[in-house]
């Protein structure tokens, strides 16, 4: 997980929302993972202001919370794109050439191994170890929707479709 914070991660955090989440879990420190999951669901990453607030309210140190947040692969301290494309690199997908799909996605979105999010803020490519849809390998998941039996060509048209969708929404 990347620790550096970039300019684009700075945005206004609605502390009332964070408070509502904290209330839902009774400010219980054993629930910090669930609390952070809810916050990340809204902001698509964990803003620093939110983390500081959570640490204070549940009564643990900021460093402890930071330790938990950075331990788990699903938490991100950087802002993510509108579409989070999870590319399965599990064994079944691997033997059915998921690396080529990943490469095609990098190229189509303008991302890469060292740069997980695209400059236009639309895409974040994440590598996950297994999505559990091995029968349909290779698979990718876009915001909780599974796309099966991917090929480099299908990956490229998926990105094009998402781009179009984003354009229409805008």
């Amino acid at each position: 997980m990347k620790m550096e914070r970039t300019e684009k991660t700075l945005e206004n955090v609605n502390l009332a929302f964070v408070d509502a989440v904290l209330d839902k879990y009774g400010c219980d420190k054993s629930k910090v993972i669930a609390i952070m999951q809810d916050v990340q669901e809204k902001y698509r990453y964990l803003p620093q202001e939110a983390l500081t607030h959570i640490a204070k309210k549940v009564g643990i140190s900021e460093s402890k919370l930071y330790g938990v947040a950075t331990f788990y692969g699903n938490f991100s301290l950087d802002a993510k794109g509108k579409y989070v494309i999870k590319v399965c690199r599990g064994t079944a997908c691997h033997v059915r050439k998921s690396s080529n799909v990943l490469q095609a996605l990098y190229e189509a979105t303008g991302t890469g191994e060292e740069k997980s999010s695209s400059d236009d803020g639309l895409f974040t490519i994440e590598i996950v170890s297994c999505l559990g849809a091995c029968g349909l390998s290779p698979v990718v998941m876009v915001n909780d929707v599974v796309h099966a039996a991917m090929t480099p060509d299908k990956a490229k048209s998926l990105v094009a479709d998402l781009r179009e969708e984003a354009h229409e929404h805008a």
Partner: protein
């Protein structure tokens, strides 16, 4: 709105009602809405089916007993059938027909021909080599299976507690609450010989007895491990999605047996549908008073919580999982004390895998002898496997313990894809090993596999054909472990990194012959000095591929070749004599490395070739080989 059940008699009355409602559904269409088929478009098909049925003016119900009529059509969303390769799937009852590769456009025909006319649509049937199998159970993929844990997966609406009750659900729990003592329940589980399905195979009955023995402790916990992290495994996901109440029932029984009142299910965040279905199941069970205080008026209580994982493979280890539920970094700790003595929140904890809990209700209902009627002496019962990779029929299967690899790969799996040769099977994920042709007749059970350096693990079976590079697979798993090592102990954190470096340089053509010995010595060190199971088993894929395919390592190191063509740095593109001289490859090569005249075999200049693969992709006759 459901009413709370206050007594055994009320429970039995409700169950009778559900069974009668099920009987009234003369015709049923079950649309598979597991992760696989949903991705294939089955949700749209489900909606379209309802539209089409309504358009014909027929009455139908989506929830059991909705229609209050004697003869109705049930249109249900079911869980995973396991035959994901042929999905999206639709099952037709009462005939038991299975339609494969369905599309929303097929809904009209299904309604008009099958539902109205009772006619089988051959086009949608499973057809292999000209042989049509109408009934699901007649398809070779299912014929050889013994589905116990997965018996109802795909056959019932996974989001309805009434459907679960209609197939005898929660009867085992009622028996435990009103007829059996805690000791008797544990005795039955012990007699059945059920062993933990998560990988290690620890006797479940013994674990429960150890937790129950802490009579002095008022608070004990039941934890269900649904953190199915092994890449290539998805049986627990299908179980939680397809029959969530079965898992809950097993957990509540464990609670009754060990006198625990709190249960936690830890599910991977990558399984949103499993979390969704479990959440529904828990809410329904609470409404009916099957969960909560004073279950079915018995005076016993049990509360269920769901914890979503946050993406850490190591959390599948018991002590790491409890640390994660407590809201900490999921790092394993030194044992003893074991979790049965001091687990979650420092209290005695019974931690079992999803499939283990799902086995429990049937053992209580049908008895230990029934459970032992299949499987081997040391490993009774069945095991679910996720069959994936280069095999014809990928999917979820369940077979008796002791079934041979040959039966699984060839009879159920239908052999290797694209007519290629079988090379190996990787079993047990990153903690397991590979099995080769000589192991094809080995019975798959806990003890036989251990003898050959592999483990059942959680049950992932990845089939590899002749084109799969074993050094690459070893590097793949080591890379996975490197990323997932929690970093607490040095041998695992640094040792796996070193091993990964060595394997990477071998796959890139920079290996040294001394690397093989170095890999072995690092492996031994990591195995003997790591704290938890993740580290102790991390070198297994390397050791097992070294044992069975050392010549491939030597080929990579000494000859600088990867004959499978997987390791790009070592592979070369070669035009074989299949070439018809169409010149297409030469015209498409971006670096003009291909020469030849029309209607004559072309040649690739390997010094200029940049291995982009354009020629191979463009060749109309498949004459270009990589290796």
């Amino acid at each position: 709105m459901r009413e709370k059940i206050g007594s055994l008699a009320e429970f039995q009355a409700l169950q009778e009602k559900c069974i009668a409602a099920k009987k009234a559904e003369k015709r049923k269409v079950l649309v598979c809405c597991g992760t696989g088929c949903a991705a294939g478009g089955n949700l749209a098909l489900y909606e379209e089916l309802k539209n089409q049925i309504a358009a014909h003016g027929l009455s139908f119900e989506v929830a059991l007993g909705d229609a209050h009529e004697d003869s109705v059509i049930g249109v249900k969303k079911s869980g995973c059938h396991g035959f994901c390769e042929m999905g999206p799937l639709v099952r037709i009852e009462p005939e038991g027909w299975l339609y494969t590769k369905c599309r929303a456009e097929d809904a009209k025909e299904i309604v008009e021909k099958t539902i109205l006319g009772g006619e089988f649509i051959e086009r949608l049937g499973y057809n292999r080599g000209g042989e049509l199998s109408k009934r699901q159970e007649d398809i070779p993929f299912y014929k050889k299976q013994t589905r116990r844990v997965l018996e109802h997966c795909g056959h019932i609406d996974a989001e309805s507690i009434e459907e679960y009750l209609s197939i005898g659900g929660y009867t085992a729990l009622a028996k435990c609450l009103f007829e059996l003592t805690g000791e008797e329940i544990i005795q039955e589980i012990s007699d059945s010989g059920l062993r933990g399905r998560g990988g290690a195979g620890f006797p479940t009955g013994r674990k429960w007895a150890q937790v129950a023995a802490h009579k002095e402790e008022p608070v004990k916990y039941i934890v269900c491990n649904g953190d199915e992290g092994d890449p290539g495994a998805f049986m627990d996901r299908s179980c939680m999605e397809g029959d969530p109440h079965k898992v809950l029932e097993g957990m509540i029984i464990a609670g009754v047996a060990t006198d625990s009142t709190e249960g936690y299910i830890y599910v991977r965040a990558e399984y949103p549908l499993a979390v969704h279905r479990l959440t529904i199941a828990i809410a329904q069970a609470e409404e009916l008073g099957i969960l909560g205080d004073n279950i079915l008026g018995s005076g016993k209580s049990f509360h269920m919580h769901i914890n979503k994982g946050a993406g850490a493979f190591v959390c599948g280890e018991g002590s790491a999982m409890t640390a994660s539920i407590e809201g900490n970094r999921g790092m394993p700790r030194t044992k003893p004390p074991r979790s049965v003595d001091k687990g979650l929140f420092g209290k005695p904890t019974c931690l079992n895998n999803v499939e283990t809990f799902a086995n429990v209700p049937d053992i209580i209902k049908k008895g230990a002898a029934w459970f032992r009627s299949v499987g081997t002496e040391g490993s009774p019962g069945t095991k679910a496997f996720a069959l994936t990779g280069n095999v014809v029929n990928t999917g979820l299967i369940e077979v008796p313990m002791g079934t041979t690899l040959r039966e699984v790969v060839y009879d159920i799996g239908g052999g290797i894809k694209n007519g290629k040769k079988f090379k190996a099977v990787q079993i047990g994920g990153p903690s397991g090993g590979c099995l080769t042709e000589e192991h094809l007749d080995l019975p798959m059970d806990f003890d036989s596999l251990k003898k050959v350096g592999a483990i059942i693990g959680s049950g992932g079976l990845v089939v590899m054909d002749e084109d799969s590079c074993m050094v690459n697979i070893a590097q793949f798993f080591m890379n996975f472990i490197c990323e997932e090592s929690c970093g607490k102990c040095t041998p695992c954190r640094e040792g796996t990194t070193r091993m990964n470096e060595i394997l990477t340089r071998i796959t890139q053509g920079n290996g040294r012959m001394s690397d093989i010995d170095e890999l072995k010595s690092l492996a031994e060190m990591i195995q003997s000095s790591s704290l938890c199971g993740l580290g102790k088993t991390a070198p297994n894929p390397v050791l097992s591929t070294l044992l069975n395919f050392e010549d491939e390592y030597v080929e990579h190191i000494r000859d600088k070749r990867c004959h499978c063509g997987t390791c790009k740095a070592l592979s070369q593109f070669v035009i074989t004599d299949k070439c018809i001289g169409c010149t297409k490859c030469a015209r498409n090569c971006p670096v003009n490395a291909i020469t030849g005249t029309v209607r004559h075999r072309h040649v690739i200049d390997t010094t200029r070739c940049i291995k982009c693969g354009t020629c191979k992709a463009n060749c109309p006759v498949g004459a270009i080989k990589e290796g």
